[in-house]
């Protein structure tokens, strides 16, 4: 077989994939195997495909994705821990024609920011909330999260989460689905190509809802892995997630067009 040079490969007709221009060239700070990179990418692809980049303002949380603004190539604000839905409310109320979304982890959205989450959802702010639930505090080094499963080990539940002493994992997505101010509530995953496609469709629906002025929050939970925090290989983490996280956090739509499924 003759030697093939790069010049022969790099041709427009050979291009099968390119990253969205709404992701910067900055190397992601996430661990290999983490779902954040995929979740970032499909969110940005949706914004590009819908042609919304010139009117979108994103909000980064505190947590692993605190630097989301370094990777998402759009106007962004970085919020105090848990306050992203309030920051989003502030922006959307004074710029009602803009597209506003927050991107938050479980500690940010379901522990320190529960109040902001519930009230933004209950007021029916016309925003998108993307919620990454990996059941652990990744950035601070693997502490227990509000969504840590019973029996799951973390650095602050080293013998496993015990409901009596540490409380129960919080299904905040089911909770916000009960509120009249949410329009679309879904739980998805990004660990397989099929799931990535489904999640991207869900995110697209969420942004379309906001663009079309559908009343209320569109809330997309993504159950994801944290192989570093869970102390597993990426592959084992995905298997563990399917076997343990999905039974407690079942995937699928919870509320569509303002109606519980």
């Amino acid at each position: 077989m003759a030697d093939i040079t790069l010049d022969q490969i790099i041709k427009p007709e050979n291009l099968v994939y390119t990253k969205t221009k709404l992701m910067t060239d900055k190397v992601l700070s996430y661990c290999p195997g983490c779902g954040h990179g995929t979740a970032h990418r499909i969110t940005m692809e949706v914004i590009e495909e819908l042609g919304l980049e010139e009117q979108t303002i994103g909000i980064a949380p505190v947590g692993c994705s605190v630097l989301a603004y370094e990777f998402m190539n759009i106007d962004m604000q970085q919020a105090a821990h848990g306050r992203a839905p309030a920051v989003a409310t502030g922006i959307k109320r004074v710029w009602p024609d803009k597209i506003v979304f927050s991107y938050q982890g479980d500690g940010d959205l379901a522990a320190i920011g529960t109040n902001e989450t519930i009230h933004a959802c209950n007021r029916g702010e016309n925003i998108v909330i993307i919620f990454i639930n990996n059941g652990i505090y990744g950035m601070t080094g693997g502490q227990m999260a509000p969504t840590t499963l019973i029996g799951m080990k973390s650095s602050t539940s080293p013998f496993g989460r015990d409901a009596q002493r540490m409380g129960n994992p919080l299904k905040i997505t089911e909770l916000v689905a009960q509120l009249p101010g949410t329009y679309f509530v879904t739980r998805q995953a990004v660990h397989t190509p099929a799931n990535v496609r489904k999640t991207k469709r869900a995110i697209k629906k969420a942004f379309e809802n906001q663009r079309d002025g559908k009343p209320g929050v569109s809330f997309v939970e993504i159950v994801s892995n944290c192989n570093s925090g869970w102390k597993m290989t990426p592959r084992d983490a995905n298997t563990w997630m399917e076997e343990n996280m999905f039974p407690f956090y079942p995937l699928g739509d919870i509320k569509v067009d303002g109606k519980l499924v």
């Binding site: 604000q77 970085q78 306050r83 920051v87 502030g90 004074v94 710029w95 597209i99 109040n115």
Partner: protein, 361 residues
């Protein structure tokens, strides 16, 4: 059209926000400043000017709504009273760090803790020394009348945008609740979206093609860059200290003694000056208008011109007096007088303190 009205301080603040062309007010009720949001809701500013008024679920949410809207280039404010202002400190630190313009008011009540709903000036340290975490300052305006409650809203917004800094109107329960005649300034139109895009190249309003994206953040994991950012902030505070000091000198020309006070204490002290003058005591009033920047240069200059003593009068156990001591720097006598915990001192008590602690002391 400027208009003469009889109003409560809190109402004047609220009306001034509409007239100043504010785009939004985000707040949460607390005594003694709930009239601010009540007035705004009743006035329907969304019909008058298009201004947004939203009752948030907490003071924390309110200040973070301010962060978001300010970061998107809008003229926004909030207000609260002492316990609520403590809750806002995290957000204010972020606003200072991200260099966003905003205005907020503290109608101070007695503390600590839940304290009392009566007037106080015990939040001086929190207001002037940085109430939240980190090395930051904010401009602090201290109104002593209902008129100034209105005027400082306009001035405060101007300063906030000039320096991209949080500006605090530090009022108290007396000024917030009392009714006085106020001449309301002519309404200033709200900026259009196009004007905001043109005037504020830092505001996140959506990345336009061919332009750099905009980021609002207070984070930098590189500590060398964070030190640089801090240098920039300090340079700004230095400029403010040089250019934005405001005070009022009353009867100071021939004074041998000076009372230093701000807000409602300055009004009471003014009466005490009259009582003292009637007794032949040559005393003047140094009324602070900006608490940060503090008029240290002027105060020091005065003590070099033969002032025999300064009496710091404040409704606290002695907070502002520390800045008076720093300014005077040992070249004249300094004493403190103040009632606190919600008690407002009388002019007679101030005069007595002057006679005992400064003249006779």
């Amino acid at each position: 059209m400027s208009e003469l009205k009889l109003m409560k301080g809190n109402e004047a603040l609220a009306e001034a926000a509409i007239r100043a062309g504010a785009d939004a007010y985000f707040g949460y009720p607390i005594t003694p400043q709930s009239e601010v949001i009540e007035y705004l809701m009743a006035e329907k500013p969304h019909e008058r000017t298009g201004m947004v008024v939203l009752q948030a679920e907490s003071e924390i949410a309110a200040i973070n709504m301010v962060y978001g809207a300010a970061g998107a280039g809008k003229k926004v404010m909030t207000s609260s009273s002492s316990p609520g202002i403590s809750l806002k400190q995290e957000g204010i630190s972020y606003i200072a760090g991200a260099e966003l313009p905003c205005l907020y008011a503290n109608v101070v009540r007695g503390g600590p803790g839940l304290g009392t709903i009566q007037p106080s000036q015990a939040d001086y340290f929190q207001s002037t020394k940085g109430g939240g975490h980190g090395d930051y300052r904010q401009i602090v305006l201290a109104p002593a009348s209902v008129q100034e409650m209105a005027d400082f809203v306009k001035d405060g917004f101007e300063l906030a945008f000039k320096y991209r800094i949080p500006v605090l109107i530090l009022s108290d329960g007396v000024i917030g609740q009392m009714m006085e005649k106020v001449e309301l300034f002519d309404p200033i139109p709200r900026l259009t979206d196009a004007e905001i895009n043109e005037k504020y190249p830092w505001a996140t309003t959506g990345k336009k093609s061919g332009t750099e994206r905009r980021i609002i953040t207070s984070l930098d994991l590189d500590s060398h860059k964070m030190e640089e950012h801090n240098h920039k902030l300090q340079a700004k505070y230095k400029e403010i200290t040089e250019k934005e000091v405001r005070y009022e000198l009353i009867d100071c020309d021939d004074a041998e003694y000076v009372i230093v006070a701000y807000g409602s204490s300055a009004r009471i002290a003014q009466k005490a000056v009259r009582l003292a003058r009637a007794k032949g005591i040559k005393v003047g009033l140094f009324r602070l208008i900006t608490l940060f920047p503090f008029p240290s240069v002027k105060m020091h200059e005065m003590c070099g011109k033969g002032i025999k003593g300064f009496l710091a009068v404040e409704m606290s156990s002695g907070q502002m007096v520390e800045d008076v001591r720093l300014a005077v720097n040992g070249c004249s006598k300094v004493a403190h007088f103040g009632r606190y915990g919600g008690i407002v001192h009388t002019p007679e008590e101030v005069l007595e303190a002057l006679e005992q602690k400064i003249i006779g002391g």
